[in-house]
Symmetry: C2
Subunit: 367 residues, 2 copies
């Protein structure tokens, strides 16, 4: 059944499941690489299949600006446009509007702002975000929300009221989840009572999945984990839970332990473009002279194309010479690293060994 | 047999053959994409196999500077280092020394110049070029030559004398073609008598293949074709003939007609990085607004990954948004376009239809 969420095993609060979508099944917990403007930077879709990606995120704000969501719709939707035939998720545009643009006005109806590309004045409302996301046609779409700094209670409270009003309007503008599943976003910053209020309110509207928004935006890691500790038990157990914008390997581990099912982050491709590789021993800067003559692959036990084919010395040379291929090879490895990390956690859940896996992983990665 | 050149068919002056190398067979005529610093820019080796590339060029000058030919040798040679297991060719470094660097001194022994990267003083001699190319380990290596402007007779004459002396020294420094075949380079600019002198002299030394150097460097196309007209009949018929640095589709057609077997050029990947695609109707700038809503592939009858998967509208979007994937997709298509062009000419030679193919191709491409 479309958008059915099956939980196949649990281990503590963690769950291993499958989320069924019109473009295929998503094994959870899952990490989604981000294709901001309709391309996971430097990585062709066929490489994403090979890596084992089962969900790709794209950004509503960016695609509305360029090339335009109506153009994408007229060309058959985002799957067709970007050549990715698997499950896809679009965000609401809210986070980008609040983090990238010059805001002119926030009112209860929506947000007026200037494009970060050409400065033209634009206005997003919940209804308009729904319209854009319907034009793009992703399998999972998100409610338009206000994303404030999570640590200022007064600001968070006011934003929460709007986010809830807007969630109602999004649900009304997208009443039918048959083709696209609309997820609600639980906000409330780092304040347990607001998170509880938000989780309860959104469930009263009813969504096929729920996100935890407003984290990984400036709070400390311990604040983030503490917020998850209080929020996760408030979320329905039979729906997927999506922690937006989180992708650091340690955060993925800590969050899966707490019951999160879906993640996305630009980190693996962004650090790749800065010449860094994710490894079990932490993030390493491949520009370092120490790798100049190193015949080993980025990671000894990795079976991605990069590690099967090239040495650290070669990657280091490409980074040093500012060669385009460095972006491709490091992006592939880094996405593979996170997806492999999720796969191992999923297996550990089936085996009832998640805590042991996580401790061992974190000890080495953070060590 | 290693480095045996078999001619399988001729059509006028044109030849269809196979050049056997330690890393596999090269069907000729052949176009080699260029991997300047040990990477065909933005294109992984496995995509080159898929496109049908059978020969890749790399640059001795660039690799000596970065990462260093001794490092490449210590890591198993250039094939191993860059992950390309097919036939490979390195140039001598001469062209780069004369075109990229600040020359301090040219004398009969060699050239002293400053690195274009960090300004450090370096000296190339014929023996040193051979040493570097032996360290890199390409299948085909080239004599170190002086590459002057081809239209100033006095300069060309003086350079030719040096090029011939240096060819003798290269042959002495690399007397055995068992593992790496050393090609001689016929110089002489646009002057028929100097080309004849050069072709005769080099054959008296004896090489398993001969290049035509010093063309496509500023002379007109008709000067280039006229020079080929007088030079090609002077070259041995039983050895491969390599026209260095040529890759414009019309030049490939005109040169194959005149009996050239091997080509290389950075053009397909360079124009890709500028957002242009090669098509049977000429080179098109994909930045153009006219493609914004175009659902067709770059080229209707092309079976490269780019054309099988993506629309002009998507490519245009990637170029417009300065996305890295644009470089990859356009580079793949453009290299495929040239290799497909060569494959069609090769078949036309077998069919005795090269003139008809060429006329039809040029009419459409230049039209």
């Amino acid at each position: 059944m479309t958008f059915e969420f099956e939980i196949l095993a649990t281990d503590g609060l963690a769950r291993a499941g499958v989320f069924h979508t019109p473009h295929g099944d998503i094994p959870t917990p899952v990490f989604a690489p981000v294709g901001t403007v309709g391309t996971v930077k430097a990585v062709p879709p066929r490489d994403l299949y090979e890596i084992g990606a089962s969900l790709v995120l794209a950004n509503t704000y960016h695609l509305h600006l360029r090339p335009g969501d109506e153009l994408v719709r007229d060309l058959g939707g985002l799957h067709q446009f970007m050549g990715w035939r698997g499950p896809m998720l679009t965000d609401s545009g809210g986070f980008q509007v609040f983090s990238l643009t010059q805001i002119n006005k926030i009112d209860d109806d929506g947000v007026t702002f200037r494009s970060h590309i050409d400065g033209r004045k634009l206005r997003f409302t919940p209804e308009f975000s729904m319209k854009i996301q319907q034009n793009l046609g992703a399998d999972i779409i998100m409610c338009f929300d206000e994303c404030p700094v999570p640590t200022d209670r007064q600001i968070v409270e006011r934003a929460l009221k709007r986010t809830h009003d807007w969630a109602i309007r999004c649900r009304e503008a997208h009443p039918d989840d048959t083709h696209q599943a609309l997820f609600g976003i639980v906000q409330g910053g780092i304040f347990p009572d607001l998170r509880e209020q938000s989780a309860t309110f959104l469930q009263s509207i009813g969504f096929p999945g729920y996100a935890i928004g407003g984290l990984a935006v400036g709070e400390t890691k311990s604040q983030m984990y503490a917020t998850l500790d209080v929020t996760m038990p408030l979320m329905p157990t039979d729906k997927p839970r999506y922690l937006m914008g989180v992708g650091e390997p340690d955060d993925l581990a800590e969050s899966v332990l707490r019951g999160v099912d879906i993640f996305d982050c630009v980190m693996p491709t962004r650090v790749a473009r800065h010449g860094s590789a994710l490894t079990p021993d932490g993030r390493v800067n491949m520009r370092n002279q120490v790798y100049a003559k190193d015949p080993a692959p980025l990671q000894a036990d990795c079976n991605c194309y990069t590690c099967r084919t090239f040495s650290r010395a070669y990657i280091r040379h490409l980074v040093h010479a500012k060669e385009l291929l460095a972006h491709y090879l490091l992006s592939i490895h880094n996405i593979h690293f996170l997806i492999n990390h999720m796969t191992k956690m999923r297996q550990a859940i089936f085996d009832g060994q998640l805590k042991a896996y996580t401790e061992s992983f974190l000890k080495r990665y953070m060590g």
